[in-house]
Symmetry: C2
Subunit: 306 residues, 2 copies
């Protein structure tokens, strides 16, 4: 590892991610309520925030996880779309004035500015519920045991002991008497973003009824990848411009947020991320050629520029 950085080798990955993003966009378009009728404003806000942007990292991971086991693309795309609905809902709520109070997301005004606060709260709530409806419907997998395992895993990763718990830690971290130490920050980030990234790639294994060892290997890959991704995100926040990010930059330092970057410094944080990437790739050893995009993705997350 470490040799396939940035340039030529990343091209097939970028093409694959762009293609997956288009497929996920089409799936979201088909699965989200059309913006018509008396509730049009709600449906419009759901579409505004869930569609038309983002790297679709979680959706891509579900698709690539599923591809390892020959899962039908249509089924995998429903899981990918559901994961992106959950992610989009979390961004809408995180951006609210009472939370991070952000004005810009994916290069456009945040949901509560494009619509209003009440609509943004409801659009987030509706996206979460709708994600579970999509997972629960038969099109996602003919076997109900597979569908309920997706609901269980994803709701857990998104709930109080996952994403929402992590967001709560993030909100309270700034008010702590003693700032978070390295394990504390690691746990915050595992909950806030790691668990959903982990469960995304694991969802592919669940859809493919993978053997336990393979499912666990993919989950472990996702866990390391998620941790590396978060450090990369914090590095970008510290070094990139708002224009490059499509959202406000330098926010962490401004808000006095403890990140591994603020704690370790830029170069040691980058080293740590590269170490995580090596570990992530290690978990893919038993996978063959088919996992090549997942390997490239691990390199990509620390090398990306936006």
């Amino acid at each position: 590892m470490g040799t396939t950085t940035g340039g030529v080798m990343a091209l097939p990955l970028q093409a694959a991610m762009a293609h997956a993003a288009e497929e996920i966009e089409a799936a979201l378009d088909a699965l989200l309520p059309k913006a018509e009728g008396d509730e049009a404003r709600l449906f419009e806000a759901m579409r505004y925030s869930a569609m038309g942007g983002g790297k679709r990292l979680r959706g891509f991971l579900a698709l690539e996880g599923a591809r390892q086991f020959g899962v039908s693309r249509q089924a995998a795309l429903r899981a990918a779309a559901a994961l992106e609905m959950i992610h989009a809902y979390s961004l809408i709520h995180d951006d609210l004035p009472a939370m991070d109070d952000d004005a810009l997301r994916r290069g456009k005004p945040t949901c509560h500015l494009a619509f209003d606060e009440a609509t943004a709260i409801l659009a987030g709530d509706a996206l979460q519920a709708h994600a579970f409806t999509v997972l629960a419907e038969e099109g996602t997998h003919p076997d109900p045991a597979v569908r309920i395992e997706l609901v269980r895993g994803i709701s857990k990763a998104a709930g109080p002991r996952g994403m929402v718990g992590g967001q709560m830690l993030d909100m309270t971290a700034e008010q702590r008497a003693t700032p978070l130490d390295e394990p504390g920050i690691g746990r915050l980030q595992l909950l806030k973003t790691g668990k959903l990234i982990e469960v995304a790639v694991e969802a592919g294994a669940v859809l493919g009824k993978a053997a336990l060892a393979q499912r666990q290997a993919l989950a472990a890959y996702g866990r390391e990848l998620g941790a590396a991704f978060q450090i990369a995100d914090d590095l970008l926040d510290a070094t990139a411009t708002a224009e490059q990010l499509g959202k406000a930059a330098g926010k962490d330092e401004g808000a006095g947020k403890a990140t591994l970057v603020s704690l370790l410094g830029i170069s040691r944080a980058r080293l740590h991320a590269e170490h995580l990437v090596a570990q992530a790739r290690g978990h893919l050893e038993s996978f063959g050629e088919r996992a090549e995009l997942l390997r490239l993705l691990a390199d990509y997350v620390v090398d990306r520029r936006h």
Copy 2:
């Protein structure tokens, strides 16, 4: 119908509801995360809003629906608790400053006042996710097909084409050029409260693997009951005091909200509710003695004083 009102006949119902409320409280206590660790504030807010109050109408309906088919009490209580988590989350978000901006709920300060806005948003989000985790776990039913059918039905009733859609209609109703007419109000209320009440009693039939006709009869009962319940709620808002309600009274008129009470007047609205109650009881004809509490409940919803 119509003879078993208010007084003596309602006693067994009130005792049964009080007993069910205690059981649901115990189930919530066991199923919600304990208020400890770094996320204690989040868990505390979830417990504050989900526990210690409310009629537990949705939970009681799930329990009584399940009892028609001999479902184990423990399984039914998990479904009941999950429904009450969804209901509690919707109340937390409805009470937010950007929504109804309420200060009092179930006789105590609303979640965002007892904690803060960010915590209230997150507690609502976490309760919704956690409800689906509880439904998805094996303890709810050994058959995954039953569990996924609960997730499907409840997420749909709670989502954009159910509860959240209804709340959106409610928020926009006040800004309409032409006020909602009777069918428009009916649809708003069906979405906002009706569908979750319907799916609650239907969940009992799903848990009991009831024949389709019986499941549909229970659902139809729930639909009429929900509509009657909403009118009764609006009647109470128009006639009771805040002390009786444990929340602000006279809010609908103050906010210029269109309800069937404001449209039809108090006595015609009451007549309409009684008609719905008769229809609700009609759907229980094929059920025997065991459905007696559901029949009494239909009478009770229009006769209750708080």
